[in-house]
Symmetry: C2
Subunit: 242 residues, 2 copies
Amino acid sequence: MTTAELLELVASLNARDEIDGILIQLPLPAHVDVKTVLDAILPAKDVDGLHPVNAGLLQAGRTALAPCTPAGVIEILKRSGISISGQHAVVVGRSDLVGKPAAMLLLHQNATVTICHSKTRNLGEVTRQADILVAAIGRAGFITPEMVKPGATVIDVGINRITDPTEFARFFAGNAKREAAFAKNGSTLVGDVHPRGFELAGAYTPVPGGVGLLTTAMLMANTVRAAKMRRGVFVFSSKGAE
Amino acid sequence: MTTAELLELVASLNARDEIDGILIQLPLPAHVDVKTVLDAILPAKDVDGLHPVNAGLLQAGRTALAPCTPAGVIEILKRSGISISGQHAVVVGRSDLVGKPAAMLLLHQNATVTICHSKTRNLGEVTRQADILVAAIGRAGFITPEMVKPGATVIDVGINRITDPTEFARFFAGNAKREAAFAKNGSTLVGDVHPRGFELAGAYTPVPGGVGLLTTAMLMANTVRAAKMRRGVFVFSSKGAE
């Protein structure tokens, strides 16, 4: 599909009253103007929470539809009884999809928030301050054990498929279950946190089976929310994800 | 004016082609629904940069119209030749008007950014890490000297009028010029940074005469920018304030 065809499709979905949520599955082919297509989604149907209107409302703590993965991070913390207020949350990664909205949602929950990225100096010194460490870089095992404060809560947003046996060994040597799976499938998933980094954590989300599951659930929650909003059941919540 | 009357006024200003910028002078009287009025401004004419659309574009690094004070902070740093990339910027205060957009603009300039607020524990420990410290709390002399790392760049966004002689003495005892002005006027202005905090700084913005002046200049810059955007000269910049 061309950009023009996608815009036409989005316009028709925007106009159909029985459609409550629209999600563009990314990545789109290189010939498509992604931002133009995403911006064309009616904010009230933007269940991915990526439209500038929704990002702006989120920044102002007036979240209508928050991006699913960051919303899932907050949900995991809350449901696990991990207090956020007054804690130092360090978010590694500054994407529009995860890093920046996660920082905003944690801030609205009264965390002190630090946002790190590829240009951050002495990254380990910064991440070791984290009571809550959110890794959203997209690099396999990037957060090594010495970057984690013992007892910290570690939320691993990364999902990286590895196929190289040397890389596999670096992460999972001695892990019989993973070795069997790798031998069978020729690949395995690893997060942005080195598996040994989890050993130091007070609590952590595994990969696979952690944040990813919540993301899908939050997408459903956003769709229900969008449906309710469009019917005037409520418009804005005063806090981030709830 | 009632909320309805203000909405009518905003709608008429939105519609008039010769009007390029609209700014609502805050605070509004308590009976007015401020958010509804602010949200009614056409984003393309929102020279204060407060509309959710503009906040969302700013968060995505697609700033059309950035809030004036944070834009002024970046402008001061750039014009003073102070490098931002890779520096640790600590923003104290998380308002929609200053703290949050300043954090986003600094992030887009590749600073590592920490946002602190009233719930932050061990605030001094955090602020002492700052290479660039932005104080936007609205409390006179709140940032004391021991909270400043020697050599740091200190940007004081606060403008607080003090009239109490004891408070005055705490900040300005021994400062002949300030004492004469205080005796004459019965009040003086102090920022969010204790005047002795500046002594440690490598560079700082004074109060009065610092960020405040830039805010007005950035408002004019935004108005010109809005006029150009509406005439299609350009639509978005790829970076924050420029």
